[in-house]
Symmetry: C2
């Protein structure tokens, strides 16, 4: 597990599940050579590439991939003044891809993530595992000690209420990372050589009422069920904070999933994360988040959404209101963040005019 | 993983952690030949054997083990009228062993559980893993996506609040089972050949507010922190229900741990569970529990303990009161169960006269 799989190992025949129902969203500032390794798994799918940074730069995409690419000029042209809600010079820009997609499912991955190997040495088709996670129900109301009861060879154990065994629809699947773990800057600085070598063969539902640190590096979700909550916030250029984009989306998503009775899974699949980002740069981006989160997380833990919030959009607008009311005193930044959350929903609805999605079912 | 380890495989040199601070409690109706296989791991420890069924029968214990054995006559003699709270002809009787122990930690195991092997073929010292789980903190307030951050090679991930990284004391460690999984009778009947062969290399804290089905087959706990909540209830002989002893203890324990700020871990270690019990017999014992749990579990999910419940005993007496108030309408059985819960605490305090344990610290 200390090395990624080779392209040959990854070249097993692949059944492209949900081929016409899933987009792969990749934020990047460089040529996408990393796709070579993913070719056998990703080539059947459509890619949405969100180019961050200098829009005059050309991003090279390996031949044979079906993709659309948006740079900052495209984002500004498509969203007009509402483009202000899409971050610049931060991977938060990826959420623009969620908005322009027309597919039911999204898989998003960072361009420094490679194919990992399972303990038998087999290349892991991360996308296939995410799809399995998303297509099987979640169990947020009671913990199953043998983990995801919908995996092959698993089941509900003695004492699991039969009325809860149908589960609920799964909105998001959060995958993990071998090699370089997703650490904050202080931990990177203190443990620069720590590598994640433990392959844990598990998928589990994060229980209702429990928040988690959602990482955007290797993440899939059902856009119809939860898409409008997957806003990665104001980060990077012109903002006092970075590297909290996925955390923000994770807190909002989990609160809304809990309210709407949707599930979030974490665990498999692993990707191989090749390169730790610079801890000094990260510290500068993160340090405000590190103390703000001490107040933000309790805020989200206590957030209650009223019963009439029956769509993701309504839930999200309500959360924006509560952010403005309760977090603006932490820093004026949250005032802007709350406004951007509203703009995001307006832009989402403009690009996705079929109307709001009541509790996961098309209106 | 399809076979238990052999005695030779288990015979690696063992460091007897907490040797003078831990008792192993075994409920049984037969000769304890299964101890031969556990000898290298268990022999340094003191055993408390709770003999169920006919007290005139002699239970043979392999030579070289240090043990005390209690049969029904002993229980009646020691507890007098309060012996009514200790079940007969059900493994619930094991909790008598928790009460007479004078040690800080308890490990309890069924006599059809053998030494399992990890994926490398190495015999698993289940007790050692339980001790590691109990001696390291739990993290019930926020989910860590790399699981127990206190395991070697693991850590808190980006976005985990620093104020929560100290964790809380761990009260219980719930281990799992390879081979025969812990299924209810209906699942046993429907899937008679299903075996658990998936070794999941994980320990995790069950989040605050989440209940789980606690199995008594392979369980360890800190008796000083949570002992009085580990009552296995009225089951078996003369009762309308069986096989819900550990479930009952698990619901009560988790509610009280959540209230007192203590942690419960599940996952490693595995034992090898050799033989499924008869599903027809199990169905007769369980069937009331299967529908009662549909009301019991919501009751425990909603149970709130007042702030002045600062000891396990106070919490438990309060829970008994709520059981009487709210579950007696489900069945008159719960009226008796509530009374037995009070008797249990009275008997506990009689045998453990050092006084109640305020939030885990000796008074």
């Amino acid at each position: 597990m200390a090395e990624p799989a080779t392209a040959t190992q990854a070249a097993a025949p692949v059944v492209a599940l949900l081929k016409d129902e899933l987009d792969i969203v990749i934020p990047t500032i460089r040529n996408l050579d990393f796709l070579e390794m993913w070719r056998p798994f990703f080539q059947p799918y459509h890619l949405i590439i969100v180019q961050d940074g200098d829009p005059s730069k050309t991003i090279k995409v390996p031949e044979g991939f079906d993709y659309e690419l948006y740079n900052r000029n495209d984002i500004n042209r498509i969203l007009g003044p509402k483009a202000s809600c899409i971050s610049f010079k931060d991977s938060a820009c990826r959420c623009f891809g969620y908005m322009v997609s027309k597919k039911k499912y999204i898989f998003t991955i960072d361009d420094d993530c490679f194919v990992a190997k399972d303990p038998s040495g087999k290349a892991i088709n991360a996308l296939e595992q995410h799809i399995k996670n998303l297509l099987s129900p979640s169990t947020p109301f009671f913990f199953n000690t043998l983990y995801d009861p919908f995996r092959e060879g698993a089941n509900f154990v003695r004492g699991y209420p039969f009325s809860l065994r149908e589960g609920v629809p799964t909105a998001a699947s959060h995958g993990l990372w071998l090699n370089i773990p997703d650490y904050d800057a202080p931990t990177q600085l203190v443990k620069p050589l720590e590598r994640n070598t433990r392959y844990v063969d598990v998928v589990l539902t994060i229980p209702k009422g429990t928040l988690f640190p959602m990482c955007g590096m290797n993440l899939a979700f059902n856009r119809e069920l939860i898409g409008p909550a997957m806003y990665f916030g104001l980060m990077g250029d012109g903002q006092p904070i970075g590297r909290y984009d996925d955390m923000w989306a994770g807190w909002c998503t989990k609160v809304i999933c809990d309210h709407l009775g949707l599930g979030v899974k974490t665990g498999l699949p692993y990707i191989f994360h090749s390169k730790a980002s610079n801890p000094f740069v990260n510290l500068r981006k993160e340090y405000k988040g590190i103390y703000w989160q001490e107040e933000i997380i309790p805020f989200f833990q206590q957030a209650v959404l009223p019963k009439d919030c029956t769509t993701v959009q309504k839930c999200y607008i309500e959360l924006a209101k509560q952010v403005k009311e309760k977090l603006s005193k932490v820093d004026p930044y949250f005032d802007n963040q709350a406004d951007a959350m509203v703009t995001w929903i307006e832009a989402w609805d403009e690009l996705n005019p079929t109307g709001p999605v009541p509790n996961g079912k098309a209106a």
